[in-house]
Amino acid sequence: MKYLHLVWAGIWRRPGRATLTLLSIVNAFLLYGLLQGFVSGLGDTVADTHADVLITLSRVSQLEPLPMSHLAQIRATPGVKSAAPLIIFSGAYHTARPANFGGFAVDPDSFVATDTDEAIPPQDIVALKRTRTGVILPARVAAQFNLKVGDRMPVKSLMWTNKDGGAWPLDVVGVYASNPKDLFFGSSILANYDYVDQARTQSTGTASLFVVRVDDPAQAGQVAQRIDAQFANSPDETKTESEQQLVADQIKQIGDIGFVVRAIVGAVFFALLFSVAAVMMQSVRERTPELAVLKTIGFTDTTVLGLILAEALVFCLVSAAIGLGLAALVFPLAKTAVGFRIDVGPVLLAGLGLALLLALISGLPPALRGMRLSIVDALAGR
């Protein structure tokens, strides 16, 4: 600690250069924190899916509906605890600033039987059953559109046309706490299956997908195979996947995000490594006479090595902490924007580890130069 002022003075010997270098490191770690946080959030989302939930979709396309007659066969499949039909009911609300949201039309009773999170209050389910045009909103959507129980919410469905030709006039019967861990139901509006199915102009008597809850999560794979085997070679073949696989597949549709992020961060840090190392080397070269004086006074080679390494460490760690701190401030906003939580701790720890590595790699060559410095040559300006 007694050398700290010496280390700090060495860092700020040239304030302009130090500030610019600090900003470039802050920027790199802010980028790292945000991108890595995003990837980490995606990973957590996949990991947080339910092991005992399967999703049955059409083998042809996720947009191809399946007949409701499948439901009884799925429920009768050995290993299936419950199954529920869902119609994808994503839409937009008519406000001055139209915004899209996810949604499903569900059969309240069977939905409750398959909903492992039990995030929807029971009284809201009862209200949905009682109100044919009812809709339960996640808190985020209710807050976004300033809606409360009892309000009328005319929804423009992105997929289904109402037989009346206009928007779907839904009545808010409940608001539930959004669950950012649940990609499907955590932030989706829930309407009545019967109402949507009967009032739509096409595909009546079908479901977009079936949510299946199994008795034993360990047997989920076999149960999925059994379900698909029943509909093999039929006009409506199915593809049953675990919720986890489905979420992972949906994320993969965007691309290999992990690889893209690693490539970007890798390129940024590769460039940063050289620039920080060059600045450190230049700084030590400029201070050759000062380092020689320290050695003259009695600082050992090892102490000089330690001082220069400490400079690199303090500088990189402080800069990284600022960058990661800024990223941590942005995470809550990112959570609102992307709809899933970001576990900040591991990202920050990994970031600090990276800063440590950056400091050691960029600081070691100048530190070795300082250590090997010949006092006589340095004082003579050679």
Partner: protein, 231 residues
């Protein structure tokens, strides 16, 4: 017994492919409490001799004994610790840390000791008072005159209470009046505190402050050690 003793010291440097012998079989004894001026033309080996005595360099041949210790036998780390304990250095261009205040510059040698922060502060204050710079302790070198910077350098050289004060052209960058002030201060340290001072200088007037003057020419002592020119 002499405080500093050089026996058969030879120093050769490599310059390109050639080896240049800077000091030739040099013998020298400096008593404790002496104020010795080393004079001679450029390239005569004055600074090389000073570097050997101060433990900044090693002889190619021969022995350098200071305070009874063969410093030419010490490892690099041991030599650094030995310098910290026994030698104070004053340079022509002050060689202060530009980013540190006067008191932080003076404190540098004490960082290598086990003294507490409070004790270090006390010693620094005493050293700055000795050189008359108490009121300038918070100033950085760029805010001080050349003479004041050299005083800070002297305070830094003294603060760890070394036996030996090694000065390489300490007034070479100062005007006559300031130079005399600095030399007077060094002389005072020699007389009042008993510091052994070895000073390299080109300036005969500066050498007049020393008790003894030796002339180096082409790597050899021009005056025999016995021919003391006591002040």
């Amino acid at each position: 017994m002499a405080l500093v003793e050089l026996r058969g010291v030879v120093k050769r440097y490599k310059r390109g492919r050639q080896q240049v012998e800077v000091l030739h079989n040099l013998d020298l004894a400096i008593e404790a409490g002496e104020f010795l001026a080393l004079m001679g033309p450029s390239g005569s080996g004055k600074t090389t001799l000073l570097n050997l005595i101060g433990g900044l360099d090693r002889p190619t041949e021969g022995e350098v004994i200071v305070g009874g210790e063969h410093i030419d036998d010490l490892s690099s780390g041991e030599l650094a610790r030995w310098r910290a304990r026994h030698v104070g250095f004053v340079f022509q261009f002050y060689n202060l840390m530009p980013t540190l205040s006067a008191e932080k510059n003076v404190e540098l040698p004490l960082l290598l000791t086990h003294l507490s922060g409070a004790q270090r502060q006390k010693n620094v204050a005493a050293a700055l008072e000795l050189v008359g710079l108490t009121d300038r302790r918070k100033h950085k070198p760029a805010e001080l005159s050349g003479g004041q910077q050299q005083r800070v350098a002297i305070a830094r050289a003294l603060v760890a209470d070394p036996t030996l004060l090694v000065c390489d052209e300490p007034t070479g960058d100062l005007d006559r009046e300031t130079a005399e002030e600095i030399l007077g201060l060094i002389q005072l340290l020699n007389r009042e505190q008993g510091k052994t001072v070895i000073m390299v200088t080109h300036d005969p007037k500066a050498a007049e402050f020393a008790k003894r003057t030796l002339h180096l020419d082409k790597g050899a002592l021009a005056d025999a050690p016995s021919e003391m020119a006591a002040q």
